[in-house]
Amino acid sequence: MALPSTEDIVDDLSFFDDWEDKYKYIIDLGKSLPEFDEAWRTQERLVKGCQSSVWIQPGNEQDPLKGEVLVFSVDSDAIIVRGLLGLVLAALNKKTPQEILDFDITAYFEELDLERHLSPTRGNGLRSIVNRIKGIAQAAV
């Protein structure tokens, strides 16, 4: 399944004026994320938040136009966090390391009016995942 583009997401989410529709969209996005192999839920792939767990498996592939791009499989035991991870992947998956480093995730979440989920107090691992992805990109440039 192809994730929507970040532009589509910003469009879709700005269309909702109540929080319920917005969170239903996030929940649906979480449900539609590609399945994560149960066997991958291991300690090395775990990014632990104090409220929910997040797993990440990085990889790479060749893009005919851009050359090497990074691909990520992610998972969380909380569906809303899975949906938020979908928002992150829409921005950072299948991008070159330099594109990943250049992307302003905070501004993106602010545009979505979801920046609270990136706040360190949330302890949901979302911020740690973003940092992990940026770290992998940093190592690859």
Binding site: W19, E20, Y23, K24, I27, G49, C50, Q51, S52, S53, D77, A78, I79, I80, V81, G123, N124
Partner: protein, 405 residues
């Protein structure tokens, strides 16, 4: 005297806040309680009128600050029904209080000695004893938790023996709300000659902290869970024990004489109060306890029981909800999981509706593992909560359930 919850609420300015246009329903009181205006005023007044270092300056402000600070100690002494004011030590909170005792204990234990904690302890009352045991070669034993969320008393009896040197348990479990039989458990530990520490972080807020009645050697709590400020707490210790307990923090104030090579320690309570204490917060905690103690205690307990009973009844009727912790003696906490979603999801969606609960492991990972849950959602109640707020929680939970279904 009776109990007027509307009048109580009036005294808490933060309760007037709205979250996304909805009235705040604050049900995270086991994490920290809100502060009445008089406590906020006491703090502001201290910094406005008499801020100064205590016990040191030869001037008016130092006199006033010291008087207020030591008066707050007297208030705590009365609150705990402690025999002596010198037994009341100011700390930064429960965690520091336990660390002070545990670091001393680490120096007193020998290999093969045994320390007992429980399967429902907050990490503050577990990791500390693990470290003391690691440092000394002592063995850490754990009282198991039953399916209902009570401490298994038969197992506890079986663990006690003449090698048991120290026993620590929570007065009230922060994750389950279980009220433990602290007096009976203390008496049994005393029969084998062990020291006993009761973690009163959750117990003190219900006003049951009578240290002479319990018979323990140490009772610890945090000000911020008792309508007082953050950053201040209490270590109460029996004088005969504290007098010779090894000190952990050293430095100014806690010494009697110092030469370049040797020092001797001050008398209680200063022996354990190294450095400049948190004077303003200590004074404000004194005010919080004065305020809390002036309430009709029986009415407070009756109100809190009514809140929990009402919440429990609604929870039992709620499809897909499982209560974690069904102890016969419970106060202040409704911990639960929903079939439809992870606790973190519940927390997000309740927050969007103005309801503040805590989700996660409640700093009790072994307990979560015991119940085989990744964590729980926890609604915890304080004296200013209302039956209508409990109803609001369940209205909001119905929406959560349908959104996650």
């Amino acid at each position: 005297m009776s109990f007027d919850v509307a009048a109580i609420r009036e005294q808490f300015p933060i309760l007037k806040r709205e979250i996304d246009g909805k009235p705040l329903v604050y049900l995270d009181n086991a994490a920290t309680t809100q502060k009445p205006q008089c406590v906020i005023d006491a703090l502001v007044d201290y910094y406005t009128t008499c801020n100064s270092n205590v016990h040191r300056g030869a001037h008016r402000l130092a006199d006033e600050a010291t008087r207020r600070f030591e008066n707050a100690r007297d208030i705590v002494k009365v609150f705990l029904n402690a025999p002596k004011r010198e037994e009341v030590i100011w700390t930064s909170g429960t965690t520091e209080s336990i660390n002070i005792v545990a670091n001393g204990l680490g120096q007193l234990l020998s290999p093969g000695d045994e320390v007992i904690t429980t399967g429902m302890d907050h990490h503050a009352n577990l990791v500390t004893w693990q470290q003391a045991c690691k440092a000394s070669g002592a063995i850490l034993k754990t009282v198991p938790v039953t399916d209902d969320g009570e401490l298994d008393q038969a197992a506890y009896d079986a663990l006690l023996n003449d090698k048991t040197k120290f026993v620590a348990f929570p007065h009230v479990s922060n994750a389950l709300g279980t009220v433990n039989p602290v007096k009976a458990m203390t008496a049994k530990a005393k029969q084998v000659g062990a020291w006993v520490l009761v973690d009163g972080a959750q117990g003190a807020a219900h006003g049951w902290a009578d240290v002479q009645d319990i018979g323990c050697d140490f009772y610890v709590f945090s000000g911020h869970k008792l309508y007082g400020p953050m950053g201040v707490g209490i270590l109460w210790g029996r004088e005969s024990v504290l007098e010779s307990w090894p000190v952990w923090r050293t430095g100014g104030e806690m010494i009697a004489t110092v030469t370049l090579q040797e020092s001797t320690w001050n008398v209680l309570p200063y022996r354990f109060e190294a450095g400049t204490p948190n004077v303003g917060d200590a004074i404000a905690l004194g005010e919080a306890i004065r305020w809390f103690s002036a309430l009709d205690h029986d009415a407070v307990i009756a109100h809190e029981e009514a809140l929990l009973d009402h919440a429990t009844a609604l929870a039992k009727d709620f499809d897909g909800l499982t209560i974690i912790g069904n102890a016969k003696e419970k106060i202040g906490v409704l911990s639960f999981v929903l079939d439809q979603g992870h606790p973190a999801d519940i927390g997000f969606l309740l927050d969007r509706q103005g309801i503040a609960v805590r989700t996660g492991d409640h700093c009790a990972q072994p307990l979560m593992a015991r119940f085989n849950v990744p964590g729980t959602a926890r609604a915890s109640f304080a004296i200013y909560n209302t039956i209508e707020e409990v109803d609001a929680l369940f209205v909001a939970l119905r929406k959560v359930r349908s959104m996650l279904a």
